[in-house]
Symmetry: C2
Subunit: 170 residues, 2 copies
DNA sequence: ATCAATGCAAATAATTTGCACGTCC
DNA sequence: GGACGTGCAAATTATTTGCATTGAT
């Protein structure tokens, strides 16, 4: 289970050594925390997790460290409509997600077909490096909620009509 | 050329009438301004354009109006790493863009193959409604700049070496 | 005349920056 | 011991909100 954590730790260590940067406890704590989520996480959630594990880190360090991880491609940043989310990338190499526009729920998509299509796309004076696909829609549980809500409202309408008939009789 | 502007104006008019909303000068001024850009624009740029055309609008109204246009699908919002950008969508129905990570330059991509791939993708308990693809990389002019910079630096190195040789002789 | 929509300014949220201090090499 | 990285707090930026005023219907 911690295989991935060990690997990314090695990647970070190697990078820091090669660039004469310091192997601080904070950097490894943040990396470990980031790789404890199995989907998108916010700065807030990351901060909270670090605090819970009794390793609080300043906000500035969080931002600095996440920026470092982004250049190392250990983390990506998604600026969604309901806020900025981060994601550990070393495991899931898919850059394709479905996102519910109601509740914000995110799921990873099988990206092979998309990746092929991107490979077959012509770029205009451009050297491509990565891509990100977001499919927006409504997840099944939000759909169910909406249906229930609609039913409730139409029942209310029927009830109101009946009341009106009764009232009119008076 | 103004065909599109006329069409979107009609769409807005119709929507406002059907929903008993007011046809304010501001709303049409913002719509017209938004459709004067032929690519992404920022709130700042939109505000500036409106000001130049002697129709200044408050920031709150700008945000409100753009939100309205988004629900009307007349405008989309892209939250990129270098800030929030908006885009008039009635003309270009492509949701695929290439984005230079150095200068931020954006170009539209031919989206047919991508759209097909999305159509052939399985979604997990999800009703899809739209999608957005961002291909990140480096545009040719930024590549050229980097090459020039690299050349400059290596020439400097050679020059330094020569100087060192001369200095060592002293 | 009414009430939705605007403008303004203040509030909030998100991120960056400058500087003093601590700690990794 | 020295410089890099961190923490803290202030600064900056982006967006939202509340309220008084204006203007479309």
């Amino acid at each position: 289970m911690d295989d991935v954590k060990v690997e990314v730790k090695q990647i970070l260590t190697q990078y820091l050594e090669q660039n004469n940067m310091r192997k601080t406890v904070e950097r490894f704590a943040v990396l470990n925390a980031a790789y404890s989520f199995d989907t998108f996480f916010t700065i807030e959630e990351l901060n909270e997790l670090l605090g819970r594990n009794s390793f609080p880190v300043s906000r500035a360090t969080l931002y600095n460290t996440l920026k470092l991880f982004q250049t190392l491609q250990l983390v990506v940043c998604h600026r969604l409509n309901d806020g900025t989310k981060y994601e550990a990338t070393y495991t899931h190499r898919s850059n394709c997600h479905q996102i519910c526009t109601i509740c914000g729920k995110v799921s990873e998509l099988d990206s092979r077909k998309i990746a092929d299509a991107v490979d077959n796309t012509r770029f205009k004076r451009f050297r491509r490096e990565s891509f990100s696909l977001y499919v927006y829609g409504i997840c099944s549980s939000c759909q169910a909620k909406m249906t229930r809500e609609r039913n409730r409202k139409s029942k209310e309408k029927v009830a109101n009509k009946k009341t009106n008939i009764i009232n009119n009789r008076k």
